[in-house]
């Protein structure tokens, strides 16, 4: 039941995710030959690799049997895990957000902002988000006939929306984008703080910790401000929120801000950039959705499946269990491979084809169960509005060079999508 060393090395390799085909081929081979096996690449504790859509749902659905917080919630080396535990008094986590929590804390902390992220509450943002989208599209048009759609539009538009939602002033957005890219791009020498490939080492942990500390310094000041001067923003909800009659703990509050200020826009940015890449590479799909705006929700859903910006989360079994015919022992660590689930031939017809008319499209990009993405409705809404505004003006689009993906195995997507276009 052990996965070959070559495949095991591939599924942890940030460069395989940047390559795209290498990771797709590795997961396709696992789904065919060993869909739920154990990997033990050098420097890592052994972990189960969950590649099938059905098995991912099965694990995510049982959030009491498979915990997020008992061990690291993301893939980490033995060396990095030891370093984090030393720094954090034995905890395997540098932050403690919803992602690292289990019940009863998870439910209590999620409830704090759950209502805020529900579709009926988000409707009040629709007009403002449309105004923001139009602004970025006007800027794109003003650039002439060429741009890097990732850098010039996709990174900035969701960033601006989410920072406005949180209450971060526009002047601080470049700082938030840089910190986000340093955090999620920690394996990418072009993006991380050290400029070298040190992921999984003690140096790499120090580098991530310094990014986290910068976030905390910023948001601690914001907490003090919002406690003194509450506003109608998410920062005020977090700053003044209470759990069982007490303010949020410092680490939990800071982690809440950090996840909102990073995952809240980076995933939408990656998906938006990947969508335009796919449309430019598939002119028939571009023509279809341009001719029929009713396909825009399908474009949004297919681009979320296509990019799958969150590549994995880890779970830890709290008791002996069985998944997909395999015996999982208490304490076992499991890697939920979302890109694989979203290319599972048993669920998706022609999974390697980008199809804006795909229906049904029950991807697992937002996760499933109690930890399903809190911001999924906001992300979908941002993308729908952008395409509603951009597609009528975009007369043609083609790639103007080779797009490039970020080097990462956790949260990532395109970092450059050079295009040539005509707009009215």
């Amino acid at each position: 039941m052990r996965i070959s060393d070559e495949i095991a090395r591939t599924i942890i390799d940030p460069y395989a995710y940047a390559d795209g085909k290498r990771i797709d081929d590795a997961f396709a081979q696992l789904r065919r030959e060993l869909p739920l096996g154990v990997a033990q690449p050098e420097g890592f504790d052994p972990f189960w690799v969950v590649t099938r859509h059905a098995d991912i749902l099965e694990v995510e659905r049982q959030n009491d049997l498979f915990h997020n917080g008992d061990r690291s919630a993301t893939l980490t080396t033995i060396e990095a895990d030891r370093k984090v535990r030393e720094m954090m008094g034995g905890s395997p986590h540098l932050v403690r957000s919803l992602v690292q929590m289990d019940n009863p804390d998870h439910m209590a902390y999620r409830r704090l902002t759950q209502g805020w992220f529900m579709p009926q509450n988000l409707r009040k943002l629709e007009d403002r988000i449309r105004e923001i989208a139009r602004g970025f599209i006007d800027r794109m048009a003003a650039q002439g006939d060429k741009c890097d759609f990732a850098r010039d539009v996709a990174f900035l538009y969701p960033l601006h929306v989410v920072m406005e939602v949180i209450g971060v002033p526009e002047s601080d957005e470049p700082r938030m984008l840089k910190l986000t890219q340093e955090l999620f791009g920690s394996a990418d020498p072009e993006l991380n703080r050290s400029g070298s490939n040190d992921q999984g080492t003690e140096v790499g942990v120090d580098s991530i910790q310094s990014v986290v500390m910068d976030f905390m310094t910023y948001f601690n000041a914001m907490t003090e401000d919002r406690r003194a001067n509450p506003r109608d923003d998410l920062a005020s909800v977090i700053a003044n929120g209470q759990i069982e009659g007490q303010p949020l703990g410092y680490l939990e509050a800071m982690s809440y801000y950090i996840i909102a200020a990073t995952a809240g826009h980076d995933t939408t940015s990656s998906t938006t950039a990947g969508a335009l890449w796919a449309l430019a590479a598939n002119p028939d799909q571009f023509a279809k959705v341009k001719a029929n705006p009713a396909l825009i929700p399908g474009l949004v859903e297919e681009s979320i499946r296509w990019v799958t910006p969150v590549k994995h989360f880890m779970r830890t079994a709290t008791a002996d269990a069985e998944v997909g015919g395999q015996k999982i022992a208490k304490g076992d660590w499991m890697m939920l491979c979302y890109p694989s689930g979203n290319r599972d031939e048993a669920v998706f017809k022609d999974p390697f084809t980008f199809d804006v008319e795909r229906s049904p499209n029950k991807h697992v990009a937002f996760g499933y169960g109690a930890h399903v993405c809190l911001g999924q409705h906001l992300g979908r809404m941002e993308m729908r509005i952008l395409w509603e505004e951009l597609l009528p003006r975009l007369q043609s689009v083609e790639l103007d060079g080779e797009p490039r993906n970020m080097v990462a195995n956790f949260v990532c997507g395109p970092k450059a999508v050079p295009i040539r276009f005509k707009m009215n």
Partner: protein, 59 residues
């Protein structure tokens, strides 16, 4: 029953909305399918939350 106004129900976990009038054809629920006619073991199509953890909402 047929004359009663259609209602909407929302998943407490993920926010998925089931609108009786629209149904959810992807889930095999034809337009007009009443909440009471959906089996008790039905789960939220987005996150797997049980039917019992849905709330009726006004939109």
């Amino acid at each position: 029953m047929a004359d009663e106004p259609y209602k909407t129900w929302q998943c407490r976990t993920c926010g998925y909305i089931y609108d009786e009038e629209a149904g959810d054809p992807n889930e095999g629920l034809a337009p007009g399918t009443r909440w009471s006619d959906i089996p008790a073991d039905w789960i939220c199509p987005l996150c797997g939350t049980p039917k019992s953890d849905f709330d009726m909402i006004e939109l």
